[in-house]
């Protein structure tokens, strides 16, 4: 890194910054309760991140839960708690993973067995053909590619708008930044239902272009960029970067573009990772909007196509298609689980 962060605070948060603390500190750095409570989503994140921070400091003093060491030493308490924990674990496995395991089993079970004995384990053997038929004959491969393509475009738009917007609002700070900031935050209050119809009409007849964007991937990509949560999250992160570094860069003759590309972005990898993963997953989950604007079946993503093919597809093959559609988000979650479980993307989760 060309400009190592000097302030102790930030050097802790930024370079090694595994999502958790970096995001937590950024959000708390933004100000006191009143300004942060302006939006419900932000507040939820704030609440959890504030507490997350507290943990860090109090861990040194020996943090503890409601069961004390003395409690644990009492045999009755120890036995009760351990039993409860085991019961909870079993329930979590059955409820959380059970449906997924069943789906995985169905994906390679002959249809007749699925219908007659859904819970029996391969009474008449395994049928791998479900997966290949789903991938090739039902053309899941095509919709899979559409889904990935839509997710990548939405990811790019969200990152573009959030980073450039955050740069203007947090680093360049022109006089009118406050107005833009207010307008962006205001959209957090507006439920997405309100946007549905007018946004659809905007896509039907977009300004300037003069041609409808229906059946065009841009109809999904462009509105995805208008995520106030991302802009606020990134701007808050930029706020936490040390100003001296920007000043030093300017003294060295860096213009705003250089400052953005070579200084601010490299220092912001943790938050860019958070935004990226959640943008990708949210796009993968999206259903209603792509259904409205992508009417051509060959352009539709999995989420839109799956309900449509449910009726005329062989059950075993259909369930195999469902299993294939689940794979990528689950893998992303398992790889980036710290990001998800730290609460950094709660707003995204709530909104999605």
């Amino acid at each position: 890194m060309t400009y190592p962060p000097s302030s102790e605070d930030v050097s802790g948060a930024v370079p090694q910054g595994a999502g958790r603390l970096a995001v937590g500190e950024t959000l708390t750095a933004g100000g006191d309760a009143p300004s942060d409570l302006q939006n419900p989503v932000g507040a939820a994140v704030l609440a959890s991140s504030v507490r997350g921070k507290k943990r860090k400091s109090s861990q040194l003093d020996g943090d503890r839960g409601f069961v004390s060491e003395q409690d644990w030493r009492r045999p009755s308490v120890n036995a009760t708690m351990k039993t409860l924990h085991v019961i909870l674990l079993v329930l979590l496995v059955v409820v959380g993973v059970g449906p997924m395991l069943l789906l995985a089993k169905f994906a390679i079970t002959p249809t007749q067995d699925i219908i007659r004995t859904p819970l029996a384990i391969f009474p008449n053997g395994v049928r791998w053909a479900n997966l290949t038929e789903a991938w090739n004959d039902v053309e899941i491969s095509k919709y899979f590619l559409n889904t990935i393509w839509l997710a990548l475009g939405s990811w790019f738009m969200q990152l573009l708008v959030a980073t450039t917007g955050g740069f203007v609002l947090s680093v360049l700070r022109p006089k009118w930044a406050k107005i833009v900031n207010g307008l962006v935050i205001a959209t957090l209050f507006v439920p997405s239902v309100v946007l549905l119809v007018p946004l659809y009409l905007t896509i039907l007849d977009p300004p300037v272009l003069g041609t409808s964007l229906i059946n065009n991937f841009f109809a999904v990509w462009l509105p995805a960029g208008a995520s106030a949560f991302n802009v606020v999250l990134v701007a808050r992160f930029f706020d936490s970067l040390p100003r001296e570094v920007f000043e030093a860069a300017k003294v060295d003759g860096a213009g705003p573009f250089r400052l953005f590309w070579s200084v601010v972005l490299p220092m912001s990898k943790p938050i860019l990772g958070v935004v990226s993963v959640f943008a990708f997953i949210a796009s993968w989950k999206d259903f209603l909007w792509p259904m409205l604007v992508l009417k051509d079946p060959s352009k539709q993503p999995l989420s839109v196509r799956l309900p449509a093919i449910a009726a005329q597809t062989d059950l075993g093959v259909f369930l195999a298609a469902l299993a294939i559609s689940t794979l990528i988000p689950v893998l992303l979650f398992l790889v980036f689980q710290r990001l998800f479980l730290s609460g950094a993307g709660l707003g995204g989760a709530v909104k999605g």
């Binding site: 009143p34 409601f66 997924m100 573009l160 799956l306 988000p329 689950v330």
Partner: protein, 329 residues
């Protein structure tokens, strides 16, 4: 803030000085309006950076928000120019015989979601916070359903809810001599079935919020409670729960805001049936605007969504008032 605003300004001043020297002695204000100095001071590049936000939010967020309010007072069929119709759309929606059903169903969904979905994550999170080993495993298992694409989850559960005796849930309940139940095709069971699936899909996120909050409960409070002779149960009830008050309220409001906007489950599970038993407000909005038989009534759709948004705004306001009064005290 102060340090930051000082930064660009220090640069500006030297520019101004140069400009003033070059142009002679006009008042500083006139110099500032000069486009050349504006560009040199970074005005143009700032605008370039602001362009994505301004265009994307302008076209796909701000303008549609304004337009939805405008459209709720208009009649439009996309061919002829829109005409102003005053409160007609609102009147039409409010006298729609389906509206009371939709409101009742939506509130029923929200209520059931609270009854089923509010205690489960709380109990799970409190218990999970006392786990010593494999804590991460517990969180991963709890959160897993949240990452399953909602459409896949609904379609999978639709298969689980199969009404025949060989359906997945009916098979399991059959082991203990219950059922078979009709689930989604039963007017009384349809809504609870949707809520159970929705709870399964969302509870993991709430668990993670509670876990973060539980970690923040100061250990000294537990120490103090023990000095006073409190057992585990009383520590949970008199220390943990009061400490979670704020977060509980946040999730409560967020859950109501979310459940009032429920669409995916009724749309994919039942399409609003049987006999309108799962028709929700969002489904009505969708049907007004895009439904097959009706459809195209954008005025009614926006009128209903504006009313719903107003209701949600009031909720947010209550939430904001309460949380800010708490943070003051």
């Amino acid at each position: 803030m102060s340090a930051a605003s000082a930064l660009p300004r220090s640069g500006d001043r030297s520019d101004d000085v140069v400009a003033v020297r070059a142009d002679g002695p006009p008042p500083v204000r006139r110099v500032r309006r000069n486009p050349v100095t504006w560009v040199r001071r970074g005005g143009l590049s700032t605008l370039v950076f602001a362009l994505p936000v301004l265009v994307v939010f302008g076209v796909f967020s701000w303008w549609p928000i304004v337009r939805s309010v405008v459209m709720s007072f208009q009649k439009t069929n996309l061919v002829a120019p829109a005409t102003w119709v005053g409160w007609d759309n609102f009147q039409y929606v409010l006298t729609d015989p389906d509206l009371p059903t939709a409101i009742r169903n939506t509130l029923y969904f929200a209520l059931l979601a609270l009854v089923i979905g509010f205690p489960i994550p709380l109990v799970a999170a409190v218990l999970m916070s006392s786990v010593k080993r494999l804590k991460g495993l517990y969180s991963v298992l709890a959160y897993l359903p949240v990452v399953v694409p909602p459409v896949v989850a609904v379609l999978l559960w639709k298969f689980f809810y199969d009404g025949s005796a060989d359906g997945v849930f009916n098979t399991i309940l059959g082991w203990v001599g219950l059922g078979p139940y009709a689930w989604l095709s039963s007017p009384t069971l349809a809504m609870p079935s949707l809520v159970v699936e929705a709870t399964w899909a969302a509870a993991g996120g709430t668990v993670i919020i509670y876990l973060a909050a539980l970690i923040g409960v100061p250990g000294e409070l537990y120490d103090a409670a023990e000095v006073d002779g409190a057992g585990i149960w009383r520590k949970v009830w008199h220390v943990t729960m009061p400490q979670l008050r704020g977060v509980l309220f946040i999730t409560f409001i967020l859950q109501i805001i979310g459940t009032v906007q429920v669409f995916l489950e009724p749309y994919l599970f039942t399409g609003g049936g049987p006999a309108n038993a799962t028709l929700t407000i969002l489904l009505m909005i969708y049907n007004y605007a895009f439904g097959r038989s009706l459809g195209g009534d954008y005025g009614a759709a926006t009128a209903l969504s504006v009313m719903l948004a107003a209701f949600l705004a009031i909720l947010s306001l209550i939430y904001f008032k309460l949380t800010s009064s708490w943070s003051k005290s």
